[in-house]
């Protein structure tokens, strides 16, 4: 029960943060990505604000035994800089630059009842499912 409350509250706070910083707004994000034109450095400050808060907490808690409401900390253990990381991130960046939406703001912006947000999110879900399908065909499980 507590883990569900934590998830819900974390989501709300995350959405408030995206609203306060206006990262929910694709136009604002595109301003940051327009490095060689009319540049708006705000996104860097958002990342700095978030990292300043989370980095010390990760550092202090990651070697503790247990989180409050789960059995263990789930931190990715993968270390290799592989082809998937590079190709995937590169592909994500192209999509991000086309509209100014990444997953968090896109989902959060559904609150604003904009039809384009809905289309973006549905396409993104389509991308997840397509990748899973292709993955299954290339690497059949068992």
């Amino acid at each position: 029960m507590m883990s569900k409350i934590i998830s819900f509250i974390s989501g709300i706070i995350f959405g408030v943060g995206l609203s306060v910083s206006n990262m929910i707004n694709p136009e604002k994000v595109l301003g940051f990505l327009d490095l060689f034109g009319q540049w708006d450095p705000s996104l860097i400050f958002v990342m700095m604000g978030a990292i300043i808060v989370s980095a010390p907490v990760f550092f202090l808690f990651r070697n503790k035994n247990k989180p409050l409401f789960a059995d263990n900390f789930a931190i990715p253990t993968r270390k290799s800089i592989d082809k998937n990381l590079i190709i995937g991130s590169g592909t994500f960046g192209i999509g991000w630059g086309m509209v100014g939406f990444c997953p968090g703001p896109a989902i959060s912006s559904l609150a604003l009842l904009n039809t384009y947000s809905v289309f973006f999110v549905l396409s993104m879900l389509g991308g997840f499912l397509l990748t899973k399908l292709v993955d299954r065909i290339i690497i059949p499980t068992q």
């Binding site: 995350f14 943060g17 540049w39 990292i51 997953p103 396409s123």
Partner: protein, 137 residues
């Protein structure tokens, strides 16, 4: 390069709030608040499905609460055409799934953990995004 529309205070303050969400999720549930992973898992995995779904519901409620309590109209503008939006959504879905993370998972959580994978991922998606804006902007 001209610097325009720069809002360092609200950006930094909003970032701190996002950081709070990340640490609450981490200390409470032991997980990283990477939105692409959470959304993807809700779709394809039974594990923690209710938790993941509630995080997403919260993410949508956040702006509603913010706008309601502050009486601020959240600035929001999409100028892209529908075909571009649909293509971009697909690329974001495919890319974050293959690259295992987005701006929150790699850019905030991964960098906070000083993960070399996430640092590289963030540099790469920023570069391809900036090039894309340069080419189509």
């Amino acid at each position: 390069m001209n610097i325009v529309n720069f809002t360092p205070q609200s950006a930094f303050f909003g970032g701190i709030i996002i950081g709070l969400a990340v640490i609450i999720f981490f200390i409470g549930n032991g997980r990283l608040a990477g939105v692409s992973g959470i959304v993807n898992d809700t779709l394809v995995s039974k594990q923690n499905r209710t938790d993941n779904f509630l995080f997403i519901v919260g993410l949508v409620l956040g702006p509603i609460f913010y706008a309601f309590f502050t009486k601020i109209n959240i600035p929001f503008l999409i100028t892209s055409s529908l075909p571009i939006i649909i293509s971009a959504g697909f690329l974001v879905g495919i890319g974050t799934k293959i690259g295992r993370g987005c701006t929150s998972g790699h850019g905030i959580c991964g960098i906070s953990l000083l993960s070399p994978r996430s640092i590289i991922a963030t540099i790469i998606f920023m570069i391809t995004a900036i090039i894309t804006v340069k080419l189509i902007g």
